[in-house]
Symmetry: C2
Subunit: 448 residues, 2 copies
């Protein structure tokens, strides 16, 4: 019997120490070299050697300044600051790989659909169809201030804007240039047949545009669409538009509930629920033996920075956690929200909680030998109904190298991870039959 194969993406960001706070202090960590070309080239080569499906590049375009009301704690711990533009490293990694794909975060408020659609088409051409877009509808308040707004838009409005943005980019990617518009006819001097290129005339509530798309159709036209929203509006958005969804959660049961809700949403939008590929975030620490993996986790934890972890959590929750006593227990904490967070995490004190979050962030961590890791991942998939994992790193690059060298071969032996890349675009590598969106996905309806 063929076993269901899992998809694997690396979960990363163009910054120092993405989910793990302070691990840049570890003697073997190189994530502080994120400013260099070599860092990303080496990482891309390692991921391709391990047959990773993709690298998912998160982005926040803002700073974590809720903790203590300033970015100071985040700056000290390098909690996702400094952080560079994720789109600039995609061509760097693409230029040393043939199959690795890219899920890149692009925030809707930051760029008009006209130029954003062009950037994505350009990258889809350059990479021969290896581009995915993680659709982000909003940002931190600090990022809103970066573009002159006092506060980010209300949550519901953001999704209304996002739905309209999708209409515009679908029209640019799918409708503006017909297949066959580009003739490259040297003899008759016709590069493009203008009768097959169409002006997109959109006059909506939030966007207005009257233009042709600037790029000829790229291999995928619309990039593979990622989404990570967890609110009801976010899940509905994912059910309609997303092809890949990235979810958080402390355990496989939590993942299972999100997976069920998301597949229901996909069905409600007339789609096959299995056409939604759902990735759970997880941090894996693998070593030759279970015990060595535990020791490695303890070693990593000794480099964690609690303040950085709380700065990250303050940003996520909007609660300023700087006034909590580190030794406070659940009972001693005044805020109900913090109490319930501590309790959900099973932490005795604030310090325990912060220490725990400093490695792997809010997501789950699993440790063990390659066999143990394979057991745990297989079971996690079975319980959760996930299609794959987004693997957060701890110490870079050893975190990725060890997964590739130790865990991947065992997963392959068991038949739960592929032995070679599927040919074609990102969409085809994810198991879809065609390089382009197909009905009933709403984007496909725009194509002539």
């Amino acid at each position: 019997m063929m076993r269901k194969k899992m998809y694997l993406c690396a979960f990363d960001m163009n910054c120092v120490g993405h989910q793990s706070q302070g691990l840049w202090r570890h003697p073997r960590d190189h994530s502080a070299e994120f400013n260099t070309m070599k860092y990303w080239q080496d990482l891309a080569r390692t991921l391709e050697r391990g047959l990773f499906d993709g690298i998912f590049l998160a982005d926040v375009t803002g700073v974590y300044d809720v903790f203590g009301g300033s970015p100071d704690a985040a700056l000290r711990a390098a909690t996702q600051v400094p952080t560079n533009d994720p789109f600039t490293i995609v061509p760097v990694m693409a230029s040393v790989t043939d199959n690795l794909c890219f899920g890149v975060t692009g925030s809707i408020p930051y760029e008009p659909p006209y130029s954003f659609a062009r950037k994505i088409s350009s990258l889809d051409h350059l990479t021969s169809g290896r581009i995915g877009w993680n659709i982000v509808t909003g940002y931190l308040d600090s990022a809103a201030k970066g573009i002159g707004q006092d506060k980010k838009d209300a949550h519901d409005t953001r999704y209304d804007i996002a739905h309209e943005y999708m209409q515009v980019v679908y029209a640019l990617w799918e409708q503006s240039w017909e297949d066959g518009a580009v003739l490259r006819d040297r003899a008759n001097g016709i590069f493009t047949d203008p009768n097959r290129v169409h002006r997109i005339d959109h006059d909506g509530k939030y966007f207005k545009l009257d233009a042709i798309h600037l790029c000829e159709p790229s291999p995928q036209r619309t990039p593979v669409l990622f989404q990570a929203g967890t609110s009801p509006k976010g899940q509905a958005f994912a059910g309609k538009h997303a092809e890949c969804v990235f979810i958080g959660g402390h355990n496989a049961e939590q993942h299972a509930r999100s997976v069920a809700r998301l597949r229901t949403q996909a069905k409600a939008h007339g789609r096959d629920p299995s056409d939604l590929k759902i990735f759970g975030a997880i941090t894996v620490i693998v070593a030759p033996t279970d015990r060595q993996a535990e020791e490695k986790l303890a070693d990593y934890k000794s480099y964690g920075l609690n303040e950085g972890a709380l700065a990250l959590l303050s940003g996520w929750t909007g609660m300023d956690l700087s006034e909590l006593e580190m030794d406070a227990t659940i009972e001693q904490v005044e805020s109900d929200a913090v109490q319930s967070a501590l309790s959900a995490h099973g932490s005795a004190t604030v310090r325990d909680w912060a220490e725990d979050l400093a490695v792997g962030g809010a997501g789950p961590i699993i440790t063990g030998s390659p066999e143990t890791i394979a057991n745990k991942l297989e079971q996690w998939l079975a319980v959760s109904g996930l299609d794959g994992f987004n693997l957060a790193y701890t110490v870079m690059p050893e975190s990725v190298e060890e997964f590739v060298d130790l865990a991947i071969p065992v997963l392959q032996e068991r038949g739960v991870f592929k032995g070679s890349y599927q040919a074609g675009t990102f969409r085809e590598k994810l198991g879809f039959k065609e390089p382009r969106l197909q009905a009933p996905h709403p984007g496909a309806g725009y194509r002539r």
Copy 2:
């Protein structure tokens, strides 16, 4: 006596056949492969082999739709459409070179200064300081419609917006992070000293921002600043902000007048006039003998597309030239503006004019053996007072390969072109002593 050395940039755009219309039809032309990684990697390697200082990437973010009131002619001839995002190919070329620098066109109306500054800093980090920014203040009407405006802003307003935009990006690049802010102090767990990172609080007429820059200081902080405006407002802008200026003109005397005006503007802004590096656009056709070069030009011309040339010119001038009779002479043309353009170009008929523009665009073309080319370029420099040339291509890549293989060695023998790259950043390679802006450049005043 040491002769003054010329700077050389390649003049290009992320499209098919940039200045020459229809030469994608030539059997040896590969510019229709601009969608691929390999095309740009090969070009970058050739340019670096020839010790080119940089590649100047033009961009228009719109289509030429004045001719006949539609983009049809531009589409048929591939007149700068399709066209991809220039920023996506910079990391591709940077990843296969060590010294080649990049002057990339970024249009102010398209991106908020907060995220644009981050994109540039990210690229300056990745390339170890090889980034320049060609500041464009406006765009075609067709591009304005792409972002929901009916028409582009009035010319004067555009420059007011641009001056304020510069204030914001200088503050982000130069002022937000002090040198030494980033400690990477593993022992004490301090990556960045928050006391040396400053919030930029700008509340102006066109931009509002209250944020820290997201990136740590890159090698150059502010990229090398390019500008290409020719109006009085444009020249004043260049005199204040630009370090490199790119100018057009039919001959060395015209260049000389622009050079004089620009250096006067630099002086008026308290700068050393020689700190403005001025590049003239020129198309060079070189072959082993003068006669072979002439034959090559004739061969190239036989592939030109007149309609594409007129579509380009219509976009530049805002005049719809589609109604002109091809056989019309100067006297028969009704528009005074077209009459004077024909006369300035020395063309007998509209057809002559279009045929002439189809190879090399509106700029001058010189042809000849390597010796002849060296003579002409040397004399051009002497008469014009230019610092170097922006070389437009004809047939790609042979246009660049032949210049590198035939012309460069002769220029080097004569001591008018360098024999090896200067170490350091783009700014240092251009002869400035420091990698960063220095007083009295206004950007330097922002640094603490």
